[in-house]
Amino acid sequence: MHPLTPRRYGAVNLRGCWTLYRRGMARFWRFSWHSLGGPLISSAMFLAIFALAAPQAGPSVDGDAVGGHAVGGLPVMLFLAPGVVVFSLAISAFKGTAVPVLDDKLQGTVGDFLMAPLSPGELLLGYVLPAVSQAVISAVLVAVMTLAFVDYAPVNLALAGGLALCIAFFFALLGALVGLWADKWEHYGAAETFLLMPLSFLSGSFFSVTNLSAGWRDLMAFNPVFLAVNGFRFSLTGYAEAAVWPAPLVLSVLFLALGGLLWRLLARGYKLRP
């Protein structure tokens, strides 16, 4: 009789990673009615509100172009549509990691992952990839919905996809960091109010930076989320308010920095191990 031998795996525990991924996605599909329907409704609502609240089409006193209000150099709907796609992408990705990480911590289920033969990198991937997947699914749905309002003039779909992925990864990593740091739901609520909301609302998803004063505009050039939104909008409409090329660069650097930080924290067992 041979004793049972441990299962062997190569450099990466792919099966473990895959199991964690499937678990994350199963959790997502269970609440998909809310996690997909919510962003869809709120995005449609934002577009409807802006369409109704924008100054009326036709010749107007304050110099709007005939045929509708313009934001920056685009018709208001075309300006906003990429914005709401990025907005729902960012929110879904953030919640997609922050909520499960905190939930697992509070319910004590993290023990199951810390015991399993998963390296910090594998653990991180297992949490981040489901969040990115669900954010992409949600954003695609929202993008399809926006087609009812606007006709895009895509310049570079590969750039759009790449930037969307960058944004999803960035917010998923940010969410993981918040989930790891938070000790209770109030902490998560505070992060949502004071970090996620300002970051996603004030990054040019919904307004043109040309409406800002010069000082604020210069400050916006340092906001990575603004760069991403701007690049994403450019790739779908050909209209940009800042240079597009720094966006992938800055996001990659941030992505690596956040990923590295999280890897260190997981390796040390920050707030996870006694």
Partner: protein, 271 residues
């Protein structure tokens, strides 16, 4: 030895009179302390969100000295945004309180004491009303730093503020009693309350709606509370302000009666 049993009186129930004031006050305090305990989420968060809305709408749509209904666009926005935050918080307070109590089982703690259905209705609704009004006050004060708005008819502002938060507190109670799990109440919030509070003239004058939607807009109670509240600020209303007063009084009484009936019958509360 014989105990002087004749002299030992069993404890008597406290006599509460017609209204159990102490019980009502205790329930009310519990409801208020519940949200004050997490005031960053219940008072500060609405302020942040509402200021963000003010910023993006003014930046995106308020350019070039745009005015609506005779006032700058930002001044037009202020009453709508205050109302939006008030009603969302009033609804959240009563609905979450009831659903959490039901799911955790501590709802028995308010069903067992000698509190009548009316006292329960008032106690729960009072918590939501207090939160709604406090949020409105804080949001209004915070906005004053950015937008120099005025209040032309304070009585209308006060009336519609109280009516709107009462209406949403009662709706939250009805929703909370009806809901069997968090999903149910989240669905009501996501798919009914939030859209209604966003789409009922918070950000635009309902004249802007396509013709076919006008009738629907005038059947929507959320429209009257925002319209009447805004009338109190800027002196302009889409509908007659007195019709709004009548509509609000009718709806709030109707909802209070419904909530009372649900509590009195024990619907989804008692076996």
């Amino acid at each position: 030895m014989v105990l002087p049993s004749a002299q030992i009186q069993p404890p008597r129930p406290r006599s509460v009179g017609l209204v159990n004031w102490r019980g009502l006050w205790t329930l009310y305090l519990k409801e208020v302390r519940r949200f004050l305990n997490v005031f960053t989420q219940t008072l500060i968060a609405p302020v942040v969100t509402t200021l963000l809305f003010l910023a993006i709408f003014t930046l995106a749509l308020g350019g070039a000295g745009r005015s609506l209904a005779g006032v700058p666009y930002s001044v037009f926005l202020v009453p709508g945004l205050i109302m939006m935050s008030m009603v969302q918080n009033a609804f959240a307070n009563t609905s979450s309180s009831l659903v959490i109590s039901k799911v955790q089982g501590n709802i028995v703690d308010v069903l067992m004491p000698p509190l009548s259905a009316w006292e329960l209705t008032l106690g729960f609704a009072g918590g939501g009303i207090t939160r709604g009004l406090l949020v409105g006050l804080v949001v209004g004060l915070a906005m004053r730093f950015f937008v120099p708005y005025q209040i032309l008819h304070p009585s209308f502002v006060l009336f519609h503020a109280v009516m709107a938060v009462s209406m949403l507190s009662l709706l939250g109670m009805i929703g909370g009693i009806w809901a069997e799990k968090f999903d149910h109440i989240a669905a009501v919030t996501n798919f009914v309350i939030t859209p209604l509070s966003f789409l009922s003239g918070t950000f635009y004058s309902v004249d802007r709606l396509p013709e076919a939607w006008h009738l629907l807009a005038y059947l929507n109670p959320f429209f009257y509370m925002i319209d009447g509240f805004r009338y109190g600020f800027i002196g302009h209303a889409d509908a007659s302000p007195w019709v709004g007063v009548l509509v609000m009084l009718t709806i709030v009484s109707g909802l209070a009666l419904t909530a009372y009936r649900m509590l009195a019958s024990g619907y989804r509360l008692k076996p």
